[in-house]
Symmetry: C2
Subunit: 213 residues, 2 copies
DNA sequence: TAGTCAATAGCACAAATGGGGGATTTTTAT
DNA sequence: ATAAAAATCCCCCATTTGTGCTATTGACTA
């Protein structure tokens, strides 16, 4: 059974060219080409494509917003962005909108068919430069070399509860120890983190990912 | 000028096979093949490869750790992971270690040369399934739909300072208002966030990104 | 024009907190 | 075996905080 593909692209030349390439593939079945995202959305129920190739710069609704709406109504559709834009902003938004592929235009014909197959089979076709951008953003989020304040296990437990908003009493109850001990742990935590209040400790714990929320 | 490539791979068959493929490419120049990452690291200064193809499952130092060390000493080297592993854990660690490519073994010969070129020219070759994993992790980090607690601008200012760990007095001084007013604002903030202490407010503000740290 | 809301300011008081001293026991490492 | 580190518990006390009230001003709205 061929993969049902729809295309949204406002440039007529590019639209017919891309469409032609896909029609020549035996694995793909073009079920619709559209100039505007709104047109695809209104007809979507009738054609039910497996994969949508989506431009970003469109008249009317842009491709990112269209992707968000489509993904919202039809979570199983695979959306591959085809765009000349490769700035952080667009890439980021497209991913968050649920796109599962992002290719920089122009796309080589053979790459196009491969991308549709990739997307359909659970992969994420991406131009290498775009992938690099994603990786860079990824790194900027996650794994900033975090300092080691050498908190003991117990202290981390207490800090975790502080972050949850518990007061001394509650912490004592949850850990089956006296309030005095809780105070002692918290004092030690403050020492190690160089802070002087619960809110400072909580802030530092979350910002520096000492405690994983 | 050809791209200087080094390969670290413990399996002899795979090592000779991969090496052979690259030797047949005019764009690439194999400058070293290694069974252990330690061997590459100790010889690195003499051969200075542009791109390193790195296995993960190695005897001695694993490929992720080796990548971290290489990237640390030679930030310009491009490391492409070749691995049978495609679990979140390994992919995540490899990226954080500075890998700029990740291909699932076995790799098609023509893909291999393309990957080296991609990596060398600032791209990030990735198998589509791996890319999907990265995207999923990416999404899990970034953009959770945040609630609207309809804090006023002034309240957000105060909350920001709470998150910075300031106490009532300091906040009053910074905003040129009386402590009483600060208390009033904080009361209102607590109402709207449904919390009852500074630490809870700070925690909620950071976790739900009401305040952008 | 009356009503709502945000921002400002105040009073009072109990509870929670932070910091200053300790001490004892258990675990860990050398 | 012995020293160091972690975990436990206790006292005191000033300060900070949370929350119950009230009240004035200005800006916007129905």
């Amino acid at each position: 059974m061929p993969i049902k593909v729809a295309l949204v692209e406002d440039n007529i030349d590019y639209r017919t060219g891309t469409s032609l390439v896909l029609r020549h593939s035996t694995q793909c079945l073009m079920v619709g080409t559209y100039e505007k995202a709104e047109d695809l959305i209104s007809e979507f129920d009738e054609i039910l494509p497996d994969v949508v190739l989506m431009d970003i710069g469109l008249p009317g609704m842009n491709g990112v917003e269209a992707s968000r709406q489509l993904k919202n109504c039809y979570p199983n559709v695979q959306i591959v962005i085809l765009s000349v834009f490769e700035d952080d902003e667009n890439v980021f938004k497209a991913i968050c909108a649920g796109a599962s592929g992002y290719l920089k235009k122009p796309v080589m014909p053979e790459r196009l068919v491969g991308a549709v197959e990739d997307a359909y089979s659970g992969g994420t076709p991406m131009s290498p430069k775009i992938a690099r951008k994603v990786l860079d953003m990824f790194k900027s989020f996650a794994p900033t070399a975090r300092k080691d304040y050498s908190l003991s296990e117990r202290e981390k437990e207490v800090l975790k509860l502080l972050v949850d908003g518990d007061d001394y009493k509650i912490i004592a109850e949850k850990l089956f120890i006296s309030v005095h001990t809780v105070r002692a742990h918290i004092r030690s935590i403050y020492d190690k983190l160089h802070v002087h209040s619960k809110s400072q400790a909580v802030s530092k714990a979350l910002r520096e990912q000492i405690i994983h929320s």
